[in-house]
Each structure stands twice: as C-alpha cells, then as structure tokens.
C-alpha cells in the first residue's frame, strides 16, 4: 500500500474572462504517492501546468482542497507557503529560471541558506556534492549566461533538491533542451527518483513520460486517465513508449 503525500479533492481553478469565468481545472480529485515519479500529460492548453502550480501552492486554487501533511495548501498563508517551498518542495521550470546575477554555485546555495536548521558550511558542502553529482562542478563559478541550457537545467535540479524536499515539481523540464541535454536531465530525475525522491512532472513528451511509474492524462481540466507503469529500466524504453502511445490513443489524444 503506497503512502499518499499530497491529496487534492474537488480542485478547481478558474479565471475571470469576458465577464464570465474560464474553468481551467474542474473538480479534480487525485493523490500523489511517496516515492512515485508521477507525470501529468495532456495537450497544449489542457491545464497541466496550472494543475501543477495549484498542487504545489505556487498558485491558489479557486476551490477544493490540497492536503499536505495535514495542512490544506489552498488556505495556507503566503509566508507558510514560502516556507514550504524551501523545506518540503522543490521546483524545476521549463525555462530554468536561474537568477542571472548569481553564479551556478550561488543559485543552488541561496535556496539552501533559507534552511535555518543547516549551517552555512554544511550547505556549501552539500552544494558542492550536488554540483559534482550533476556534473557541473567545473562551472560552479560561472554565471547562468555563460553556460549551456542543459547545464542550467542541471543547476536548477540541484537547486530543487538542495533542501532534500519531499516532493519535486517539474514543469516541462526538458521543453527548452536539445536531445542530448534532455537525455541527461531525464537521467538525473530518474536517478533521484530511484533514491526515493517523489517527483511530479508535467510533460507532453512521451519519451520523458516513459521515465514515470504513473501517468495522469489531463484534458480540458479533468483527469481522464491514470496509468501505472512498472519501474523504469533503460532497456525497456521503446516498449514503454509504445505502451504509453497506445494508452494515449485510447484516450483520443
């Protein structure tokens, strides 16, 4: 029996539009389980990124509840949500979003420094360790503008895990990368997941989705499908992709 770490019930997200309301997410019920690599797939405009940000508390849901550790994120105050972002959650964006005037090392360390329970020296040591693991320690003094997109994204992943979060939210992390860098980033995420890291990733790329052990299909703000996959093995990538494609076709994607 898997342990649920995040539970959404009746989740809705609407925007005011032309005097009425535009419903992006409609009445979504879902659970994320500890240690899972969950992927949300869907067509462009299906609301997958909106769902990701609503679940992570980065964006406020219009209604419903998101229970995390006994707390409802929908009603949680801004400063508590901020604290949650550097203690329990990690984020990886499509556009990397590194702070342009901080070095690669500092981009990771600055998030680590927010964790008051870890001394600065320990944080620095951990940053070095992570950069080594991400194979970007040689560029740690470089500014983001001086490194490649793949290196930037690896830095962003290091930043996401520096405070050992319980859950990583990744929004199309390979969307802006070339084939080689995409492969590297997915390998990193897979490796983290193998070490026990829970991940929720949004993607429309089947190759990326093939790394997951659970796929949710979103269409018009509703979850229409939920596919469980066996643990990822590199050699089975082709067959996993075929399985996912067939599943998506059955859902009329």
């Amino acid at each position: 029996m898997k342990e649920a770490i995040l539970t959404a019930k009746g989740l809705c997200k609407s925007f005011a539009h032309n005097g009425g309301q535009l419903h992006i997410i409609s009445n979504v019920d879902m659970e994320l389980y500890s240690g899972d690599f969950t992927v949300i797939m869907g067509a462009s405009g299906s609301g997958k990124s909106t769902l990701l940000y609503a679940l992570s508390g980065m964006d406020r849901a219009t209604s419903g509840s998101i229970m995390y550790g006994g707390t409802d994120l929908v009603t949680l105050k801004e400063n508590k949500l901020a604290a949650l972002r550097h203690t329990d959650f990690g984020f990886v964006f499509q556009q990397m979003h590194l702070v342009s005037n901080l070095s690669i090392f500092e981009n990771v360390a600055v998030t680590g420094y927010l964790n008051k329970s870890v001394p600065a020296k320990e944080t620095d040591r951990r940053v070095d360790e992570l950069l080594e693991k991400m194979s970007i320690s040689h560029i740690k003094t470089h500014l983001p503008s001086q490194v490649s997109g793949g290196e930037q994204q690896r830095c962003a992943i290091a930043r996401a895990v520096i405070n050992k979060p319980k859950l990583i939210f990744a929004d199309e992390p390979t969307g802006a990368l070339n084939r080689k860098n995409t492969q590297d980033v997915l390998d990193l995420l897979t490796e983290l997941n193998k070490e026990g890291q829970s991940i929720l990733m949004v993607t429309h790329d089947v190759r990326a989705a093939a790394r997951a052990d659970r796929i949710l299909y979103l269409s018009d703000g509703k979850i229409l499908g939920d596919l469980d996959l066996p643990p990822y093995v590199p050699e089975e990538i082709k067959s996993r992709e075929t399985q996912i494609n067939a599943w998506l076709t059955s859902l009329e994607w």
């Binding site: 462009s44 405009g45 990124s49 909106t50 940000y53 980065m58 964006d59 801004e78 400063n79 901020a82 604290a83 949650l84 972002r85 550097h86 203690t87 984020f91 964006f93 499509q94 556009q95 979003h97 590194l98 702070v99 342009s100 005037n101 901080l102 070095s103 500092e106 360390a109 600055v110 998030t111 420094y113 927010l114 001394p119 600065a120 944080t123 500014l143 503008s145 930043r159 405070n163 929004d171 199309e172 969307g175």
Partner: protein, 806 residues
C-alpha cells in the same frame, strides 16, 4: 494621430514617471522663479522707496559740535550737489539699560528722532503697501521705520521707551513708515519720526539741560543731542558713482570726515538687500544642483523605459515606425509633463514669491509688491526645456540600436551582471548580501541614483556647515567677529565716570582669580575716511588680538592699519601702500600692514590702533572691552563679579558686564534665516529623494520582476525580498553619501567664500563636525531605505505563476 495615441498610452502606463517629471519641473520652476520674482521686486521696491524721497544720493549725520552754517553753505554751493535738505534731529542716549526699547527688546543703536517730513510714506497694516496719506503725529506718538518691527519685535500701539540725557521718555507707536536710507533691519542707525510738538519740547529740554549749572562739567551733556541730517542730491550732470560723489563732497567740504555716519544710496540698497541676496544665491545654487538631479532622474527614466519596452519598441519598428518617430513620442510625453510642471511652477512661484517677500519685508525695510519677472521667466523656462530636450535627445539615442528581431526575440546587447565586484553571499546576512549583489551586478542602473544621493548629501552637509558658521567660535573669529565670553561696557555719559583703564584693571583682577585671559578686544568704531572715502573704522586698544587676519600682519606701529579684502578690491589699496586716514579732528598718513576679514559694515571697514585713532577723534573713547577666557564655565560667575565692581568712588554704578554663551545662544539674528534655509534644503532633498526612489524602484522592480518570481518560487518571502530591495537602495545612498562628503570637502568652502564675499567674507575655515555628516547621511540612508521599502510593496503582487510557460 498614431503619435498622439502612443503618447496617451505611454502616459497612462507610466503615470509615476509622468507625475515625477511634473513635480520636479514644478519645484524647479517655482523655486527659481520665486527667487527671481522676489529679488527683482525687492530691487524695484528699494529703487521706488528712494524715488518717493526724491532720490537722495547720500545722507550724513553731523553732530552739533561739528556742524556750522558755513559747512552747510559750502556743501550747498557745490556744483555737483543739485539739492541739499538738512533736517534737525535728536540722538537718544543709552542710560540705565535703555536706549530704544520695546518690552524686552532694546536696540543700542542711535535713533535720530525728527519731525515728519515729505517723502515718508505710511505702510498699511498688513505690510503689503501704503496708505494714501500719512496722518500727522499727535504728542507722544512715533512713526518707526519698518526695520524696527523686527529689531524691536514691536507692533502698532506698543510703547517705545527711550532716553534723552538722563531721563526716560515714552512714545506710542502709531505706525511703520518707509524710510529708504536707514529703514532696513540690517542697518543700525534709524531715522524715527515724532510730532512737531514733542520735537520742539525735547529741543527745549536739551537747551535747558545743557544750560543747567548741575551739568556744567558733564562733557556728555555739553556735547548735546542735536544732530543735523544732511540729505544730498547729486546733480544730473554728475556721472560718478555714489561713493565717488561722497568722496568728492568730502574732499571739497570735509562733510564726510565731520559726520558721525554717512550712507550713500548704493550702500543703503546694498545693505538692505544683502541678506536676501546672499540667501537667494545659496538657494539658486541649490536649485541648479536640483535641476542636475532632475535631469539625471529623467535620463535614467528614459534609459530604463527603453530597456523595459525593448520588445514593444521592436514591434513598433517592425510595423514601420521610424526611430525618429519613436524618439519623438518619448520626448513628447516628457515635454508634455514638463509643460504641466511649468504651469504649476509659474502659479507656485507667484505665491512663493509673496511668502519670501513677507519673510524679508522688515529686512529690506519696505513693502515688496511682487511682479512677475517675465523676461527671466521666459529665459529660465527656455533653459529648463532646452537642456532637458538635449538630455532626452542623448538618452533616446539608444532607440536607434534596437533591432526589431533582436528585441522581439528578447535578446539584449548588454550583460549587466558581468561584474568584477562579486562579493560572496552570506547565510547570516542573506538579504544584505543579495542586495549588494543586485547593485554590483547592475551598477549602471544605479549610477544615476549614486549621483543623486551624492548631490543631495553635498548640499545637506553644506547647509550644516553654513549653519555651523553662526555657532562655531573659530568660524566666527575667522570671519572677523569678536567672539567673547565676557562683555564689559562702561558708561560714557555722566560725571565721575570710570575710565576703560580703571575698569579693565578691576576686570583683570577678578578674571585672574578664576582663570586666564586669552584674548581681549577693547574697541570702538565710527566712520572715518581713507583718501577721502568714508569707511567704518574700528579702533583697537590691543591690535595684536584683532581677529580674521588673512594676509600680512597686524598693526605694530600707530600708523599702520588693516583693511578688508573688499576695501582692497574696491579702492585698489594693497599691503605696503600708504594712505591718508582722516577723522573729525585730524588726519595722518598710514601704511596698510595687512588684510583681514570683518563683517562690520558688510566688509567696508578698516582697523586701526586706538593710540592712532585718538588723534583723529579725541572725544571718541573706548567704552567696551570683551574678554576671551580660558575656562568658559566660570564666565557667569566672573561677569556677575565684574558687574558689581564697575562702580565709581561714590559707589555709583558706571558700567555693566555680561557673559555670552555662544554654544547655546549662537548668533540669533542669522540663525532663524539659516534655519529657514536649512528647512528648505532638507525639504527639497526629501521630495527629490522620494521622487528618485519611486522612479528608480519602479524601474528596478519591472526589470527584476522575473528574478523576484524565482526567489519566491524557491521559498523567499515577500518581506525578505523587500528588505533586500530596500537594503540595496540604502547601500547606494550610503555610497552616494560618501561621494557627497568628498564633494563637500572639496567645494563647499570655495562655494561659500564666493557667496559670502558680498558681505566681506572672502576666506572661511569651515569646521566639519561629526553630526554635520552623520545627520544627513542617516537621513539619506534611512530615507532611501524607508521610501524604497514602501515603493517595493508591489513585490507582494509578484506571483510565482508568472514563471509558468504554457
């Protein structure tokens, strides 16, 4: 049409920048034009006041013992004198603490009581103009010149107490009048007007007193109180200056040498307008710097706008807008804001000029009716808009470098964050170190703010140093003021008087019981002439202690004098030159031994040893001695003891001694004006600080919106980000302050010497106190911190969702 549409849209979108430019322009236009309106109106009012009196060129006060009908006839017969009016007047005495007193305010200067004559106009009750007629005075009533209102802090209906000989008299103030020659609060002697009946009665009393056998040996009584006031009008054919006219009359008749005091029209106008002129120059200098600040703010705003709107400008270019048209749109929106600012400024200037005029009306001595200086207004506005256009043209040049494709795809030319000044982040000081990083990685964005804070700091420190001048002993001494803790005055009227030597001996004995004497000024002054030019003369018993020496040496021989730099420049006399010094009873040749500073008679003064002065004016005795003592804490005790000791053999009090606490009392007269100036400069600095912060913060906020989103996404709270934001601006203000302090050290002294040269101060030794620097620095840093913290409230509205790429 497309231009109007875009200009309207830009103004709507950038209301903050628009309002800031309106405000800055309004402040600069209002303050500069109000100064010009005021000074021009003041000059006109002074000129008009002389015209009301028939435009006299020179006034001479001749005491009765030096007056002869021959002298009057001699003057009247001169070709260069068109007209001579001579009025009878009575000079008051100083007796028992009263010379001219209203309530607690006593003016020790001579007031010449005379009958009301033509050309004196009654000022209306709200001091804004004149009554049509001046009612005749009844017995017991007096008209005072306007300057007395400030000097005696009096109003219509108050009682003026004065002394003639040993008796006190009281007059009720019926009104204030325009008396152009001596009417300013800046001029000591005054012509005041009493009824014919009172004047005749007092003249009769004077004659009887002098004839009284009881006063037969009283030299002061025998000297009398009668004075002849000569009003000289130069002939139209005379082309020389007023000073030259005075000299020519003096050389031909000795009128100047025989007079107790003289004042040409030029001198009178100069003294009356002196303080407003000096303060106006300081304010105008400050306004010029504020204009530079405003240009820096505007330039920064344009640069940031181009940076922020890069994409929009690229789109406009791709749609066929030419660079010229885009630049024109940007310029029109700023010009439009400036025009609104000019209109507000013009209205503000009119009201502000009136406020300034009200503040200085007694100083000037005549009501000032404010007129708009149209030509100066046109010139100022043209200069402001012209220079601003030039800055806009330079700043909008960047638009030419924007390529449509590059702009739309988001590529930029500049990499601002490639900095050599990369200090590490600290976990403990995370907000501060992040703030420093934001600054060091985009230094160019903060240059304008650095300049602004440096200039504001420069002026705040400068005004503190100026204010310090009136309370700093060393500074005052450097300006030639005799700053003493003990002031001893001995009576010069009556019988069995104390001599200065006797009083001095007693004072020395008392002082030496408690402490030692460091300096002493036994001094008196009157008007004498050098080479025929009438100048104020200060006679020193101890010339070795004369303060404010700049060049040469103090007089060592009786035939040596010190002159001021102003006298040297005016008449061309240098150290080593021989000049002819003349008084009422003699003349002799002297050598200029040095140049010194003195603010007496606004710098038109010379110093001479008393030993030599006695031969020029034997009846003029020293009746004052001031002491500088080592232990100031004993001053009160010593002063009380000396005061009691100043009695004659009969036990009658024949003098007084008081103490002065410069640290606490300062120079009250100038302190209020300096404080007003300080208030203006600090307020302007505050407004400019606020505008600069609001504008710069808004731009920085727009440019850093994405970074703020990222920080929020990784767990930074809005409060922490705002703190970091505000700390960064405080840091820039701190750096700017340091530059401002350096600028102040380099230029304030020179600037003040140039501004104060008109009052005879050509060399200053400014003392920079810790508080002079710390107070403005704290104000600036805290001001920038608070304002930027408030301005950064928009950070709260940045949502991490903005980072989402759908």
């Amino acid at each position: 049409m497309e231009i109007i549409t875009l200009v309207k849209a830009n103004i709507k979108r950038r209301k903050g920048a628009f309002i800031a430019v309106v405000l800055l322009t309004a402040i600069i236009v209002a303050s500069s034009l109000s100064i010009f309106n005021f000074t021009d109106s003041m000059d006109r009012a002074l000129e008009s006041s002389f015209r009301d009196r028939g435009d006299p060129t020179d006034v001479c006060f001749v005491f009765s013992q030096y007056y002869t009908p021959e002298l009057e006839e001699k003057v009247r017969s001169l070709d260069i004198v068109e007209k001579l009016d001579v009025y009878d007047a009575l000079d008051n005495w100083y007796n028992d603490g009263v010379s001219n007193r209203v309530g607690n305010h006593n003016d020790g200067n001579s007031y010449f009581y005379m009958k009301l004559h033509d050309g004196i106009r009654l000022i209306n009750s709200d001091i804004s103009g004149f009554e049509d007629n001046i009612p005749a005075l009844e017995k017991g009533e007096v008209y005072l010149p306007l300057g007395c209102r400030e000097k005696l802090q009096c109003k219509v209906g108050d009682s003026l107490e004065t002394c003639f000989y040993y008796k006190k008299y009281e007059f009720t103030i019926k009104g204030f009048v325009q008396e152009p020659q001596n009417g300013s609060a800046q001029i000591g002697w005054k012509q005041v007007f009493i009824s014919d009946e009172d004047f005749d009665e007092l003249s009769e009393i004077s004659a009887k007193t002098k004839a009284d056998p009881a006063y037969k040996n009283d030299k002061a009584v025998q000297k009398g109180i009668e004075v002849k006031v000569f009003n000289l009008f130069k002939a139209d054919s005379y082309t020389g200056s007023d000073t030259q006219f005075q000299r020519d009359v003096n050389l031909a008749t000795k009128l100047g040498d025989l007079s107790g005091g003289t004042l040409t029209k030029a001198q009178s106008v100069n003294y009356s307008a002196l303080l407003p002129n000096v303060l106006s120059k300081i304010v105008l200098t400050f306004i010029m710097v504020l204009f530079v600040v405003a240009l820096v703010i505007m330039g920064h705003s344009i640069s940031s706008e181009i940076e922020i709107d890069r994409k929009k400008l690229g789109i406009l270019k791709s749609q066929g807008f030419t660079t010229h048209k885009i630049r024109l749109i940007m310029q029109i929106q700023y010009i439009f804001a400036m025009i609104i600012g000019v209109v507000i400024g013009l209205v503000g200037a009119f009201f502000l000029s009136g406020v300034i005029a009200d503040e200085f009306v007694e100083t000037v001595g005549t009501p000032i009716s404010i007129n708009i200086s149209v030509l100066k207004a046109v010139l100022v506005i043209t200069a402001i808009i012209g220079i601003s256009l030039l800055v806009m043209a330079i700043k909008t040049h960047k638009v030419t470098r924007i390529s449509p494709v590059q702009a739309i795809t988001g590529q930029k030319d500049d990499v601002y964050f490639d900095s050599r000044l990369r200090l590490g982040l600290s976990k403990k000081l995370l907000s501060l170190t992040l703030g420093i990083r934001q600054f060091t990685s985009a230094k160019r964005r903060y240059i304008s703010m650095l300049i602004i804070s440096a200039l504001l700091m420069y002026f705040m420190v400068s005004i503190n140093l100026i204010a310090g001048l009136v309370t700093s002993r060393n500074a005052l001494e450097m300006m030639g003021m005799e700053v003493t803790q003990l002031d001893m005055n001995i009576n010069n009227a009556g019988e069995d008087l104390l001599t200065i030597d006797e009083a001095e001996k007693r004072a020395e004995e008392i002082i030496e019981k408690y402490t030692t004497i460091e300096k002493r000024y036994a001094v008196n002054g009157t008007y004498c002439s050098i080479n025929g030019y009438k100048l104020f003369c200060r006679a020193y018993k101890y010339p070795q202690d004369i303060g404010g020496l700049i060049k040469g040496r103090r007089p060592r021989q009786r035939n040596e004098i010190l002159i001021t730099q102003m006298v040297s420049d005016e008449f061309g006399w240098k150290i080593g030159d021989k000049v002819n010094v003349a008084g009422r009873s003699g003349e002799f040749e002297c050598m200029v031994s040095g140049i010194y500073q003195s603010m007496n008679d606004a710098g038109m003064v010379f110093a001479i040893p008393y030993e030599a002065f006695e031969t020029l004016s034997p009846s003029f005795k020293i009746n004052y001695e001031g002491f500088v003592i080592k232990d100031e804490s004993k001053a009160k005790q010593i002063a009380d003891e000396i005061d009691k000791a100043l009695v004659n053999d009969k036990g009658e009090k024949k003098g007084s001694c008081s103490y002065w606490d410069i640290e606490n009392e300062g120079e009250e007269m100038y302190e209020s004006e300096i404080n007003l100036l300080k208030g203006i400069i600090y307020s302007f600095s505050g407004v400019f600080m606020l505008i600069a912060v609001v504008l710069l913060c808004t731009k920085a906020f727009v440019l850093e919106r994405r970074d703020i989103g990222i920080y929020k996404a990784v767990g930074f709270t809005s409060a922490r980000l705002r703190l970091s934001f505000a700390l960064r601006f405080s840091l820039v203000a701190l750096l700017g302050s340091l530059i401002g302090i350096a600028l102040s050290e380099l230029f304030t002294q020179k600037m003040m010497e140039a501004l104060l040269s008109v009052i005879g101060v050509c060399y200053l030794d400014l003392e920079t106190g810790v508080l002079d620097i710390v107070i403005p620095m704290v104000l600036l840093v805290v001001g920038f911190f608070v304002f930027s913290l408030v301005a950064s409230r928009k950070i709260k509205k940045v949502e991490t969702r903005e980072l989402v790429t759908e």
